[in-house]
Symmetry: C3
Subunit: 489 residues, 3 copies
């Protein structure tokens, strides 16, 4: 349901709007909120405050110029008039222009200033909020709302989890802003004192921080495997047989690279869980901190999985377009010509047929399972399933998908691993290389299924510690609601 | 996690349920809410109110008949008894039956009536709420909850942004209903006086208002390009060479039409942003309102993009099924026959092979990028990324996708634009027509990247105005949190 | 925007963190919350409470050991010290260790205990919360938060609809915990007295309860149709013609099975709505309860539809990879050989070409429509559309998709239903079997469109009852906001 504020109707309130305001104003308890600034953010903020039942007054250096941009119920006046009427003022001007507001210092004494500004780049120096607090020592400065865009204010917090990060040196000012958040439909998160404002100001400037390493890994693996396959499939025939097969570069070489990247990355999703389990088994407790690299690896499993899924889907599309190409058609017709010339009536080879039928069918099933995993990664779907269901999909179905993808690769390889001609320049076929990580993961997981090992691990995860007691039932604290932590295999 | 109210367990509370009610009733501060009406909405509303801690009493003309439909804790009695007990009453009966409640006027005096009714079609006359207020002048009528379906009440506000639009002439009544909203987990939006009730009643009757123009544009472009291709590829061979190729109509003609529509619509997504930028550069300020048509075009960019994505995906599926068809197989076998008869051993044409390998590969990459754009348009995903990340994907990756799609079309065309035989009936090949909008967009975007132009535009967007000052650093108000407005290129 | 608590910065607060705490502590109104237990859940809960403005003190048997695991602002001390300071205590230890807390009974008298424990398996006996209440008769035990995972606490209620199910015998304790929920950004749902705690404890242990029957139906239909097709396409040629075509099992037999399952299941989505409509027409009222089996069938329509969609997509992928297989290539080359030997220059058969072009095109369009239905089933997308729009997509577009899928199957069958050779072992071709359910559904829907029938049904759904009155306009209660219930056809 689009927020009604986005409809053109709202711009044509006219006289009726004034009557609406009267009804609100006549209620003296309606708090007055001031906004300094007249840009998009101010306009959206003013509308949202008005829809939440506040009386809004906007202050501008040239009020007459901007009156037309605001709805009729909102008073647009001089900056001094606005801050005099209001108890809480949003400072929605560029940080480089904060100094121009100095003349309002007397009028702002004892009032609450909300700094909504952002910087252009990640900063290490004093934050805009701290500088503003230096300008207005007699006002309580609260940092907040800088992570909310004008668009979100306009459409409303459709995702009710719209968190607003606040910090201030004054608890009272923070509480006032918190109740204002609640009325507008946002959820305030208290970040502490004004010293946290730098952290808050740097937040909207991050560009997918949790995706950088997974994307880097994907690209590195892609480049490595592309060069490997290029060496084996294009350069080597050129050097040894003088065959020029550069036409393979756009599609065929890419189509051997993508599944390699996908399978290796899928193994990288399940590997850290195994490391974590083995570390816990070796130290006999779950209370030791994991090494930093393992911690970071565990947090990026979802991104690794989604990159792997994207590569799998692209691999499927590239494979499906193989018969579409002119090169495939030329090859087919040439083979027909050859067969006619040789005089073979039936060129059917049972083994080749079975190999392809099997590995295609298993590959499609693996892709189907991976799609289920990808769909349950969507935020809205992940929020509708409980932890046991999530674990079933990501863990059980996930290992199923890894097993199927490995079988797909084994069937594709068939017996070529034992054919010496495949080892060009002493380089093994790509699929042999690529099968190593998933084999390690699947064997490790099998090891964890052995009864004694599984039982020991279960006890450790329920809080038992080898060093503290011989007796298995001695109590120890641990999280007790039975929901395993994210390092669960 | 499905709301427990949907489980069968809830229907079998029995004696224990009564004990639960006692515990609530013995707390005299539990407000009593009445509901007039016994349909699905009443049942779901009653359950949700009960789960939020209210005492509920339902009024019906024939209470004995409907007692079985409600849980045991909810009292089902006569209408008069219900409104006497309650302080706030939901009027959940059909609007055409509001008049039958007139006999309850004395009992409802001074109480709050919430009108949850909807109309059948978009109305211009007095709203149901206003008519109800005429029937009960001594009660405070609040319009609300009509946009919430029985299903949502039952499942709970899974998306916390479940907004409930309220309006009333009485601020006190509105506040009471607002706190009731909060307790049930909804977010109330104040729409003003009862005169807004018509707007609220028309809300759930809109049928994708923001999608109408984009879908219309898509269908118009589809019909235009289908006729154009039909003329060129089916009618013209019939007229000039007497070749009947009507079999091309279901798939081949469609498969040239869909990518044309997709590419033109993708250009239409980025064109308004360029117009907006040029308008701002020409007027030297960002404070002038855009023309209405440009405003509307800017708001429908997401819908245009998603229609374009749907056409691209269908184009991909149609292309992938080309080798599946009997016509393709017959053609292949006939070509093999011809080649055998002529005696050509190798019919390989390097240029044709390279052309197809390249444009297929580039096309798949463009589709991959477009999928990323489509996924980040999903509400739940869009809510997890900040504005800088959103702008990176929709703007940077978006232009990348447009560039790749244009390259895909250029490679597909290859050198056929210079082949006079392609200009049948003086009509240029479709791909030549289709390349015009993206070229305009890409060249315009390149122009905006020139250092002087980019610098001027950046200053304008930070609030600088050419008319007001020669000096580049003079302060002016503007939105300051650094998040660009939605007209950002 | 990832919650800042997930950033490594948070772990390095140091001295500044202490200053933050001072600012909070100096405000005496900050409530003190205690947590017994030091596992992942305790840590995440402590962080979230701190971010919401509470003062947190954690109690452990070996405080020195766990101090390093918590941020500096949180005091980690002995269990006795923690419960003495706090007014509300979260009992985050394993249920089997609740008995060890008995020594704290005096210190916990009169305080609120929140039991967040979960069980390992669905239980019928007394719940953990009831057992805890037996240990601490002088404290108020509230069951809650057991459905919230440590991960959700850490990332924040991104989906604002994060419901927390509470129950307790003490209304006052429940209210305190409810306001704590609100401050942390969750939505409390009151489940009544402590006797509901068993229900709450069993909640996170359900494994997709609403998906079991649909998935069972899908697998059963798949096995049935696979055996049927295996008998007809593999065994029968082996028996009658001694042709071994087992290579068809992985892909070709699967590719006739999947669309059969998909089409039958799509019919099963729309069938219950027709039954419901006919039942209402027959009894002349909408107030009679549906039979249990029909009620259950109506609630699983979405899951049936999504299973059907998954089968359709897999069918599409299997079909698109048919020309990729070696068997297809061998067959093609053998046919070319045959054609050369016989000497046919053009093997074009118009009817076969048209049949394939048509049914492929219609099939792709059906798949496109089904994708739209699937996308609007995503929770976040479903929440942005109102009921009229949802009904348009799921009902109107849905029947369109069913019609197209049926046409696709009819075109695929063409005239083979009338060819006696297709009836092997007296078994009709699969597509004939599969066309029965959709025909029933489409004819039933057509019957409901007849003017007299449609008018009668509309009246019944607006509340008219045949038994109660002859007059068509007599009032009766019914839900009145015009949003049809979920049994709407």
């Amino acid at each position: 349901m689009p927020d009604i504020m986005s409809r053109p109707l709202i711009r044509e309130r006219g006289v009726e709007g004034a009557r609406q305001l009267e009804a609100s104003v006549s209620d003296p308890s309606t708090p007055v909120v001031g906004i300094l600034g007249t840009g998009d953010f101010s306009r959206s903020l003013a509308r949202r405050l008005m829809a939440s039942g506040y009386q809004v007054v906007v202050g501008s250096r040239t009020p007459k110029r901007f009156v037309a941009l605001f709805p009729e119920e909102i008073e647009v006046t001089t900056q001094l008039e606005a801050v005099t009427q209001a108890d809480l003022v949003f400072v929605a001007v560029y940080p480089e222009h904060h100094s121009t507001l100095v003349e309002l210092k007397p009028a702002l004494a004892g009032k609450i200033l909300v700094d909504v500004s952002n910087s252009i780049c990640i900063s290490k120096g004093p934050s805009n909020a701290e500088l503003l607090a230096d300008y207005f020592p007699e006002s309580s400065v609260v940092k907040g709302f800088n992570t909310i865009s004008a668009w979100t204010l306009q459409m409303g917090p459709r995702d009710g989890g719209r968190q607003v990060f606040l910090c201030s040196n004054s608890q009272k000012a923070k509480n006032t802003v918190k109740s204002l958040c609640h009325r507008m439909g946002f959820i305030p998160v208290d970040m502490g004192l004004l010293s946290s404002s730098l952290e808050i100001e740097n937040m909207p400037l991050y560009l997918f921080p949790s995706w950088r390493t997974p994307v880097l890994v994907t690209f590195s693996l892609f480049i490595f495997f592309y060069l490997y396959n290029f060496l084996r499939d294009v350069l080597q025939p050129l050097v040894t047989e003088k065959k020029s097969v550069f036409y393979k570069m756009p599609i065929e070489v890419v189509n051997v690279t993508l599944p390699s990247v996908a399978l290796v990355m899928l193994s990288l999703v399940y590997l850290p869980g195994l490391f974590a389990a083995f570390l816990q088994l070796r130290s006999g407790t779950k209370y030791n901190r994991f090494p930093n690299w393992l911690d970071r690896w565990l947090t990026m499993r979802k991104q690794l999985g989604l990159c792997s899924f994207l590569c799998s889907v692209l691999h499927a599309v590239y494979s499906l377009c193989l018969p579409l190409r002119k090169s495939a058609r030329f090859k087919l017709i040439n083979m027909a010509y050859k067969q006619v010339k040789i005089g073979i009536e039936d060129s059917w080879v049972d083994e080749e047929v079975w190999r392809m039928e099997l590995y295609l069918s298993v590959g499609i099933m693996a892709l189907g399972l991976l799609s289920l995993l990808a769909v349950t990664s969507l935020p809205s779907v992940a929020n509708t399933i409980n932890w046991r269901e999530f674990s079933f999909i990501q863990s059980s179905l996930g290992y199923c998908a890894l097993f199927m993808a490995t079988t797909h690769t084994l069937l594709y390889g068939w017996n070529r691993a034992f054919d010496p001609k495949q080892y060009r320049l002493y380089m093994p076929p790509t699929f042999v290389l690529v099968l190593i990580p998933p084999f390690v993961v699947l064997l490790g997981r099998l090891a964890l299924c052995l009864p004694c090992v599984a039982e020991r691990l279960r006890k450790i995860r329920r809080g038992w510690e080898r060093s503290r007691n011989v007796c298995f039932t001695l109590p120890s604290e641990g999280y007790c609601n039975g929901l395993e932590d994210i390092s669960n295999v």
